[in-house]
Amino acid sequence: MKTAVIVFPGSNCDRDAQVALAEATGKAPAMVWHKDGTIPDDTDLVMIPGGFSYGDYLRCGAMAANSPVIAQLHAHAERGGYVLGVCNGFQILAETGLLPGALVRNASLNFVCKPQALKVESANTAFTSAYAGKEEVTIPIAHHDGNYMADEATLDTLEGEGRVAFRYADNPNGSARDIAGVLSENGRVLGMMPHPERAIGGHEGGTDGLGLFESLVGAVCGCIG
């Protein structure tokens, strides 16, 4: 399985993403600089890491969503490639239109940084199959703008089509319908505020993030789940 991580100025979880992908797939991901980098042709999964791309100027993710590499990201998604956007990566995916809705300032106005209990809405997705039989997982969150918003019709569609991957067990940011992660129509693009790459059993504590990467390996190689 081949993976790539897009790096923007201000990305700060790119190294964690690199480590998590290398551990899960046994192969180091291609690190792709947003400006002149190339997503290798046979990439299975592109990860957009967390951080503060372009210093969150204008709106979180707005500038990154108009970076040169984004045309390649669209092409990758259009041919059915997997995309995982975490935190700022989720904000960027929403800004590119690859995922519906938008992430706005936390309702509390506070930056929240803590282990977060999440309900796995369905283990029937490429990103969550390894969570089968597990209703709740704990994955860290760390964000200021994680309040997911979309119009009611969009929210109904997301729920109706089983495209809510994770919900907060106790909503930390005001997100509509407690949504913590959403999938694209074809189920191959996931945006989520929690950081699975920060819970893979290392010094950071917690292992619940591993399942997400294992699920993806399974989906691509057919070796798990």
């Binding site: 707005a62 929403a94 809705g101 706005v104 300032r105 936390n106 309702a107 918003m149 979309a150």
Partner: protein, 82 residues
């Protein structure tokens, strides 16, 4: 030539910053303040050679593509100095 772009949150989108400002103004004695909404203004200096019509088309495009996120924000702009 200048374009002044005003961007604000759409009605119904929660504005916690605006609420904090309104609450603080109320505490300061400005009890007439019922609500506050926070937006942003972007001033663009444009090439003077552009016609007003072209400027309007281009700035609208800029708003749609980058300056505003129309899922949550609305925008309006004025062109001056043509």
């Amino acid at each position: 030539m200048k374009a002044i772009v005003h961007i604000g949150l759409k009605p119904g989108v929660l504005d916690p910053q605006g609420k904090a400002v309104a609450d603080t103004l109320g505490r300061m004695g400005y009890s007439e303040v019922e609500a506050a909404r926070i937006g942003k203004t972007i001033e663009l200096d444009l090439d003077d050679g552009l016609s007003t019509g072209d400027a309007e088309t281009r700035v609208k495009e800029m708003c749609e593509k980058l300056l505003a996120n129309t899922v949550i924000e609305s925008y309006r702009f004025e062109i001056s100095g043509a």
